[in-house]
Amino acid sequence: MRAPSAREAGLGEVLLAVENVSLAFGGVRALIDVSFDIRKGEIRAIIGPNGAGKTSMLNVINGFYQPRSGRIVFKGEPRTAMRPYAAAHGGIARTFQNLALFRGMTTLDNIMAGRALKMHRGLFWQLIRYGPALKEEVEHRRRVEEIIDFLEIAPIRKIPVGRLPYGLQKRVELGRALAMEPDLLLLDEPMAGMNLEEKEDMSRFILDVNHQYGTTIALIEHDMGVVMDLSDRVVVLDYGQKIADASPDEVKCDKNVVRAYLGEPHGTSV
């Protein structure tokens, strides 16, 4: 009944490529010579056991960390070091493993904050809120209201996010990232700490974002069921190294992946 997704239609062009990236903190090698790509319109999952380097990878992609070697090619432009501001301007938005919302501000204001980069009038005009600045704000508010409608959070529009349950805060954070109208959306464990119903809701929203806005999504997730259902392709990290890069079904059967998750078999070989 649905139109074919990227999965069936074949893959689009490369939106972002990670090429031979290595990262170290002192003597700890977080990423070792990792290469993979993210293609336009797909949902790309990055999985791996704890400490595999998944979040470090996301931080490299959006310029929060500088890789020791290797480079990132985003929209055809190679960069050795992406700056967070440049990443945001270039169309990369993200959510965080441990929420990073303005807790005292309302849902609406938090999502409006996501539009900051798109405001063109200076601070002065925004403060007096008159004329062109007002017009601009009205337009931004309309886009934000569409996101609120999309994520079904109208009932909490005016509630400070600090008072919201965790699952809803996650949704607000997704809303703020969407407000940037990103080309690439990075989601760091969007389902962590959620109950089954919240996970189902969030999965639906992620698929809808991908489907309706055509946003490319890279996500880190621990829930294997979620990963297998949502993603088109999966890259697996272990101890900073890439050990697999394939479709969800292939990854599930991959010997190296199974070993990384379940540990080395002892005694007799399989």
């Binding site: 009944m1 649905r2 139109a3 508010r141 309309r142 209201e145 569409e146 609120i148 409608d149 999309f150 079904e152 109208a154 009932p155 529009r157 005016k158 809808d208 309706q212």
Partner: protein, 668 residues
């Protein structure tokens, strides 16, 4: 424009009889075209359509439906929450002579299939993807269904079912047809003019506390004359604002948010989502309301929970002035003589507590509020009246186009439902059953003449199925209970379950209660806790719980409920007739009673037969003297699949009081 009243109809000087809703719409667009007719909050903003604009929308919709092939006497269905386009759909179909069949939006697919198949619906107008999916899931049982029209396109872009079309697209078709061909408008107007008051206007399926739902057929005369009488009774005019949030398939919403609005010309406001009603109501400031007791119970619970979390000073203030209100508020509202000091104190209370509270409820501007659908507990009723809200009781039925009796202003007695509404005759049969006859009396049950004959006598009296009597002091009608439900204990003591349940439900911690006892030795109660209230209490008292079931079975929760039951017994003991029906044993149910499981009707009334059957093991244990009982029940989840919940439920004894002892104890 001069209006004459003739045989209960408005006749304009031009000679057009306003006896159908499409005719009323055209009339309103002409007479009060620039006044607001309907509002909808969308993307955070209230959008308004005037009567003239609404006529334009409805007409385009209607011509579009005609293009799909909808014609006179066809049945079409409306499925979804209250939205302007769904209300327009009703009128758009009626303009063609087709008959709308609204369906409860939260009905599971199977229930929906029954109604759509029984009514032989050819076209369904659905709110969104959720409703469309439900229809598609059962469409193999609906061979006559040819078109599905949807309002909200989200998620539906990729469906390739040929029966699907969006409202916007349909209206575009209609507008194009109207623009292309001058005859088209004339044909449409002729179609409207061909409608008569005696035509079938709507089929409303009653939720039914027993068995499958029945399709109540109402004519235009039924609903319009009833609405006109209702408007006159409460002096409702074009300035009213109502909020439409109750199920569109309920006769109360159909008459209040549709027919009465068309007759009086007032504005109907559709909330943003079902979860934002309280905020939306505050923004609109409704002047007229109509709600089942559950709505008022929930508001009260919410208030009590929030007061429990307030600072001690605020709480003290609240309690003090609430006591003042209980003592004097109703007397002031009824216009009785009250000492000056009390008036002053009440005035201060109004400034500090009542007015802000009413504002929170969104009821600051309310002129008339009705509670209908079932009996409200007198304690809850008095609470709202004490705050100065003109809350009144109304007794009505789908079969009566709502109005049977209503309380006139200034003559409010909490335990009665008022006098016969204008144009209605009420009498009590020899067996104590309430009967009525009125212009609103329904045409019949759809495809069920046998049942119709059972309920309506040859000379037009309708059996309500409720037992009642006229209060000798006030002359107002008192409803005792569903006639079927009123029973006697083994020793002959009168047992009216609803009466006991309403006393229990006054406590915010108790959401629902089921009293059993007919033909037994004594009365027992099964109680549902209110998760909001008890959850908040648990937080304040460091009671840890992982699920509803765990909280419901917590010993401290049992202690709390035991306290409530103790108070109820004490109050029952003070009443001569009810003293013998005190609750001896009780338990707290492990799951919430739910309409999806068939335990409640879609309007949240108990289906006793179903409940005692499903929980037979618990009922047995209540009477066998056991202290625990095991129960396993099948539950239906919102997506339609089923599972089983098993639990061990504790049973406790309650303290009872001798009829006289209670009175003495209170005096001491």
């Amino acid at each position: 424009m001069v209006l004459h009243m003739a045989a209960g109809r408005n006749v304009i000087s031009t000679g057009v009889v306003l006896d159908t809703l499409p005719k009323l719409l055209i009339h309103n667009a002409d007479a009060i075209g620039s006044r607001p007719a309907i509002r909808h909050k969308d993307l955070g903003i209230w959008r308004t359509w005037t009567w003239a604009e609404m006529l334009d929308e409805v007409r385009a919709f209607s011509v579009g439906l005609a293009a799909l092939g909808l014609k006179r006497d066809d049945k079409f269905s409306i499925i979804g929450n209250n939205r302007p386009r769904l209300y327009w759909a009703i009128c758009a179909g009626q303009a063609l002579g087709a008959v709308p069949v609204p369906v409860y939006a939260d009905a599971v697919a199977d229930e929906m299939a029954y109604v759509l198949a029984h009514a032989e619906v050819t076209c369904a107008i659905a709110e969104d993807q959720e409703q469309v999916d439900k229809i598609l899931a059962v469409s193999d049982r609906l061979p006559r269904l040819a078109h599905i029209v949807y309002d909200e396109p989200r998620g539906l872009q990729d469906y390739d079912d040929r029966r699907l079309i969006g409202v916007a697209e349909l209206q575009r078709l209609g507008r194009n047809a109207l623009a292309a061909d001058a005859e088209c408008l004339a044909r449409w107007q002729a179609g409207v003019a061909a409608g008569k008051g005696s035509d079938l206007s709507v089929i409303l399926y009653t939720s039914g506390t027993t068995g499958r739902s029945k399709g109540v057929m109402l004519s235009y005369d039924n609903v319009i004359i009833s609405a006109r009488n209702g408007n006159a009774f409460d002096r409702l005019g074009a300035d009213e604002n109502v909020i439409a949030y109750l199920p569109m398939a309920w006769v109360g919403d159909h008459v209040l948010s549709y027919v009465q609005s068309y007759v009086a010309g007032y504005c109907v406001n559709c909330p943003e989502t079902p979860d934002t009603v309280v905020q939306d109501r505050r923004e609109i400031g409704t002047t007229y309301a109509f709600a089942p007791p559950r709505v008022y119970e929930n508001l009260l619970t919410l208030t009590m929970v929030r007061m429990a979390d307030a600072s001690p000073l605020k709480r003290k203030l609240f309690e003090f002035f609430l006591a003042v209100a209980r003592r004097w508020g109703e007397k002031i509202l009824n216009g009785e003589t009250v000492p000056l000091a009390a008036r002053l104190l009440y005035g201060i209370g109004d400034f500090l507590v009542y007015a802000p509270l009413k504002n929170q409820f969104g009821l600051s501007r309310i002129r008339v509020g009705y509670t209908a659908g079932e009996a409200i507990g007198p304690e809850i009723f008095r609470f709202y009246r004490a705050l100065g809200l003109n809350l009144k009781q109304l007794y009505g039925q789908t079969e009566a186009s709502v109005y049977v009796t209503a309380q006139p202003d200034g003559e409010i007695y909490a335990d009665t439902v008022g006098q016969a509404s204008p144009g209605v005759e009420v009498k009590i049969s020899a067996s104590g059953e309430v009967l009525y006859r009125s212009p609103g009396v329904f045409v019949g049950y759809y495809k069920d003449p046998e049942k119709t004959a059972e309920v309506r006598t040859a000379d037009g009296w309708v059996h309500t199925g409720d037992a009642g009597f006229f209060d000798p002091k006030t002359g107002h009608l008192r409803i005792v209970d569903r006639a079927k439900d009123v029973g006697r204990l083994k020793d002959g003591t009168l047992f009216a379950p609803k009466y006991i349940e309403n006393k229990l439900k006054f406590y915010p911690n108790i959401r629902e209660a089921v009293a059993v006892g007919a033909g037994r030795d004594f009365v027992c109660a099964m109680v549902n806790i209110d998760l909001t209230a008890v959850g908040s209490w648990a937080e304040r008292n460091n009671v840890v719980y992982g699920s509803y079931q765990e909280l419901a079975g917590h010993p401290l929760v049992y202690d709390m409920i035991a306290g409530h039951i103790d108070e109820v017994n004490r109050s029952l003991a003070e009443e001569e007739v009810m003293a013998g029906a005190q609750i001896r044993r009780f338990l707290v149910l492990h799951k919430e009673l739910d309409a999806d499981d068939g335990e409640l009707t879609r309007t949240q009334k108990l289906r006793r037969g179903m409940i005692t059957q499903r929980y037979a093991a618990l009922v047995e244990a209540l009477y066998s003297g056991a202290t625990t009982a095991d129960v396993s029940t099948e539950v239906t989840f919102e997506d339609g699949h089923t599972g089983t919940i098993t639990a061990r439920v504790e049973i406790r004894d309650a303290r009872t009081y001798a009829a006289r002892a209670a009175a003495v104890e209170r005096a001491a």
